[in-house]
Amino acid sequence: MTQVSMTVNGKTVSGEVEGRILLSDYLREDLRLTGTHIGCDTSQCGACVVHVDGKAVKACTMFAAEAEGAEVTTIEGMANPDGSLNTIQQAFQDHHGLQCGFCTPGMVMSAAALLEENAKPTEAEIRDYLEGNICRCTGYHNIVKAIMAASGQDVSAIAGE
């Protein structure tokens, strides 16, 4: 067993984990933060994307022990302090950027990482950045539209899906 300590959504957490415990397992099973979804568990789908020290990573492809000392942000840490949806989350709701919703946590986390790097991405840049996030409902069009809207761009000319 390995002792780990990290900051998750602003709170210090610590515990003992087996070496093989993935960050996604630690978040979901130990911390009960089940917003981080496990879709494929093979690093393909991106439903488990969280931020580790500000960088988007697949929580199913990193061990909890590797997050020792890190600042981790999950979907549960994205809402505004008053509990209302943040700009990206609200844009997903406004533009119907989800169908079944399973991929949404990872989509929102990747979108947030993209907008941190590139405040006004083009449609092509958004689609390129979402290469590692798969939506089984194939609802990409409205996801891309939501991210463009969240970055303050006019999406009125883009047709709804």
């Binding site: 690093s43 990573v57 697949k58 492809t61 290469e131 590692g132």
Partner: protein, 263 residues
């Protein structure tokens, strides 16, 4: 996954000691290949020694002789952002996997694994890079020894890569869209003393040099210079994604595109 212990040393010397303590220890880079491998129970280490908490293995810098030095545990995202002195290498790094994979995967891990379809082996062999380990320096020409096989000994770790910066270079990758590896990729680099061409994703030997193209391009650095060459599909990978002949054809087309883009 089978159970194992995980260690996170902060110095190269400590990592080497942990790896030499037991033959069942295995180094862990960014884990973007090793973790999926462990999940499939294709590896059974007793201990993983993570190399990502070692500051001396991080970062990109230029050496006095103009070579680009990259720490073995530097992520693809960092190479993409900081290897501007060698634009072809930065562009290659920016197109590996997807953004989340690039934030974890490391250059040393990729080269140690030597996947036959990985991008970095083409850059290292095509640039004539030097692979620096905890014990020695290995020329790229001696380092790659076939699919998933390298000159590394057990417990030896890549601490740094040194890339001579060429006069002109370019990497062309034909994506295999599901895996995001190269179905075939070609790295071309022009130096004062000649041109190097390295092909990944095609040969059953892993990354290879294409000496006929190098010779032709060293005389005339233009896509036309290779138009008369014939690259055989013998010994090329054939699978459901493409035949050996298809990969050989891709390699030739991509070489031409790389030369045009670099020239």
């Amino acid at each position: 996954m089978y159970a194992f212990d995980i260690e996170r040393p902060t110095r190269i010397a400590d990592a080497v000691k942990l790896l030499s303590d037991s033959s069942e220890s295995q180094p862990l880079g960014g884990g973007q290949t090793l973790i999926p491998t462990l999940k499939q129970r294709l590896a059974m280490p007793e201990r993983l020694v993570s190399l990502t908490a070692i500051p001396e293995m991080q970062g990109v810098c230029l050496s006095d002789d103009g070579a680009l030095c990259i720490g073995g545990a530097t992520t693809h995202a960092t190479v993409a952002a900081e290897a501007g002195a060698y634009p072809a290498l930065a562009a290659l790094a920016a197109n590996i996997g997807d953004p989340a994979v690039r934030n974890r995967g490391t250059i040393g891990g990729s080269l140690a694994n030597n996947d036959p379809s990985a991008c970095y082996p083409a850059a290292a062999l095509g640039s004539g890079a030097t692979i620096i380990t905890n014990t020695r320096e290995i020329a790229a020409d001696d380092y790659f020894q076939g699919m998933f096989t390298t000159a590394l000994d057990d417990g030896e770790i890549i601490t740094e890569l040194r890339f001579p910066v060429s006069e002109a270079a370019n990497y062309q990758k034909f994506d295999q869209p599901a895996s995001r590896f190269a179905l075939t990729g070609v790295f071309v680099a022009k130096f004062a003393d000649g041109v190097r061409v390295a092909i990944t994703g095609a040969s059953e030997e892993g990354v290879i040099r294409w000496s006929e193209a190098e010779e032709a391009l060293s005389k005339d650095f233009s896509a036309d210079a290779i138009s008369g060459l014939d690259l055989s599909g013998d010994g090329m990978i054939s699978d459901l994604h493409g035949s050996g002949d298809y990969r050989a054809h891709l390699a030739k087309v991509l070489t031409g595109r790389a030369v045009s883009a670099a020239a």
